[in-house]
């Protein structure tokens, strides 16, 4: 049994960890949105593909480098690269031809890509669950009374923090980041500034997808299983998180992800898990009424 303080602390930890997953995935969402105004519904599935790539690479490496952190890191690097390439290719062949089309058409294409990834993976893996058995002790960590924070959780928190800081810096401070933001506003004019629009969009998809892969491999390690529809709920939640944080804003995506995770944990504790989504969505909707552009989103400027 917990003391009330411990319960709050433990649920906060639970929420933060879940929030980290949401945040990592919604980072990709928000980056892609931030440059082409596309709600990339296939993003959750890239996370799934990332998890599978991680799983297979890890399996292949297990014999050589063992089943510890080294293999995990190598698997993660491989997954990041391959998913980055996948994201780039998807962008190149499915989205680029549609950049000038109505935004909803692009959304539908994204749904199509999501179907393709999901079903292709289902066929490849026979629809089975795969289990990721590593040798890192999932329960080792720091304990405070009844509350435990494991090493894996700390690694996850660390990765999330590092990525947040470096991406925020990249997008707000470097000329590339500024170019990315400019592209979302006016592509032809960007071309007139000498910006290679297609390349930058491609890079953005690469980075966003690589981030999803990080989350995917971390999910393998943390939860220990992979399956072809694991991206569905994650994708939807991450999308929610991205919007809540103020879509297009990197720290916003992070904040939105953590907040959503915390709300779900809190909802589970307070109202029970069957009402947690009602609880989380309810609060988010109320929040949007008061802050219609998301937590850190900027009001779009509109001049007469």
């Amino acid at each position: 049994m917990f003391s009330p303080g411990e319960i709050i602390l433990q649920q906060t930890v639970n929420g933060l960890i879940l929030g980290c997953f949401y945040a990592l995935i919604s980072l990709g969402y928000t980056m892609v949105y931030g440059i082409v105004r596309l709600l990339n519904f296939a993003h959750g599935d890239i996370y799934m593909v990332g998890a599978f790539v991680g799983f297979f690479v890890f399996g292949a490496l297990a014999a050589i480098t063992g089943t510890g952190w080294l293999s995990i890191i190598l698997a993660m690097v491989a997954a990041m690269f391959l998913c980055g390439v996948l994201g780039f290719l998807i962008q190149r062949f499915a989205y680029r031809p549609l950049l000038d089309a109505p935004r909803l058409s692009l959304l539908i294409t994204a749904i199509g890509v999501s179907l393709i990834l999901q079903n292709a993976m289902m066929i490849l893996t026979n629809g089975e669950f795969k289990f990721f058995n590593h040798s890192v002790n999932p329960r080792a960590g720091i304990s405070l009374g009844n509350v435990t924070i494991t090493w894996i959780q700390m690694v996850l928190l660390g990765i999330t923090a590092v990525l947040l800081i470096s991406l925020t810096w990249f997008v707000s401070k470097t000329i590339w980041g500024k170019a990315m933001r400019a592209i979302s506003m006016d592509r032809p004019t960007c071309r007139l500034m000498g910006i290679n629009v297609n390349t930058i969009i491609g890079i953005t998809f690469f980075i966003g997808s690589a981030l999803a892969a990080v989350a995917g491999v971390m999910a393998c390690v943390y939860y220990g299983n992979v399956h072809y529809f694991m991206g569905y709920i994650m994708g939807m939640k991450a999308f929610t998180a991205a919007v809540i944080g103020g879509i297009g804003s990197i720290p916003g995506a992070m904040l939105g992800g953590l907040l959503l995770g915390l709300l779900e944990a809190g909802g589970t504790q307070v109202l029970g898990s069957s009402w947690k989504d009602v609880f989380a969505f309810g609060i988010l909707i109320i929040m949007l009424i008061f802050k219609p552009t998301g937590l850190l989103g900027k009001t779009e400027v509109e001049r007469m």
């Binding site: 959304l107 393709i116 919007v243």
Partner: protein, 343 residues
Amino acid sequence: MENKNNLDLNNGEVAVVHEGTAKRGFFTRIIDSVYSFMDKTHNKIIVAVILLAFVLTVPLWADNYILQVAWNAMFYMLLALGCNIIVGFTGMVDLGFAAKFAVGAYTSGILVHTFGWNFWLTLPIVVIVGMIAAVLIGGPALRLRSDYLAIVTLGFGEIVRTVARNLEITGSASGLSGIKRPYIFGTQLTRIWMWYYLFVFLVFLFVVASNRVKDSRFGRGLAYVREDEDAARAMGVNVVKFKMWAFIVGTVMGAIAGAFYVMQMAAVSPNSFQFTQSSNILLAVVLGGMGKVPGVMAGAAFFSIFPEIFRSIGEYRMLFFGIALVLVMIFRPQGLWPERRRR
């Protein structure tokens, strides 16, 4: 005098048009020529009559399965037409349309199943509940810009589903089943062909309603809102009110479709209202060509018939469907049958 002359010199008319030998894809050319054929009114009537005759005679030759698929297509047309008011006409992104049809389905289902009402008497209640739901969802959402609106509709979709799953009155997770089917002129509607005809009639009503909305001051107001909210405001359009009513009309249409759906299925469960359902409806609208009534219907038909045609390939089916979606969008970015505005 001089003025006149000068005016002729550069009166701002479109430059002389030289018909170019544009290189267009073969299919695009075929499709375009079909559309330009359809632009002439009497061709339109001929095609409509042939189509109608075809649609009405389907039950004469089709087996149970084909009728079920055809019925399903009609059902998706109803949903897509409702969604089209919100998405196509007004340009709001709705990711929770399934919630709207859930509202109608449960209202009618509960009244008939639990309280023993006559189905037809539940329809006015369905309309009222649909309006209330629209106001509840729309109230907070309509002041938001598109993507934020999308998340609110999505959120409400999930909320409606979760609530339905947790309440006793909605039959919780298993939903309601064994609902008594309604009678019409003393005959109980048990056979699929009866439902088919009923739904054809409903589609007809929805098409008429959509067209009337489109060609009215209300519908034009929606188009103005879709194109440019600020300019619309400047022209005297009460943007929030128009959006709200578009939302209400769309929701009520969805709710009515849901009420009939639940009667045909004789069962309803929260599983029918998952996010995929909402995205499917949106997909039908965009695939067909937002705002264009026949286009939206074509989209719904494509959406419900395509996967059936490929049913035999089993697990590859949805993969192909995904590929088809992407290809259609790449080659027809405006949808299968978009609005053509140039003369």
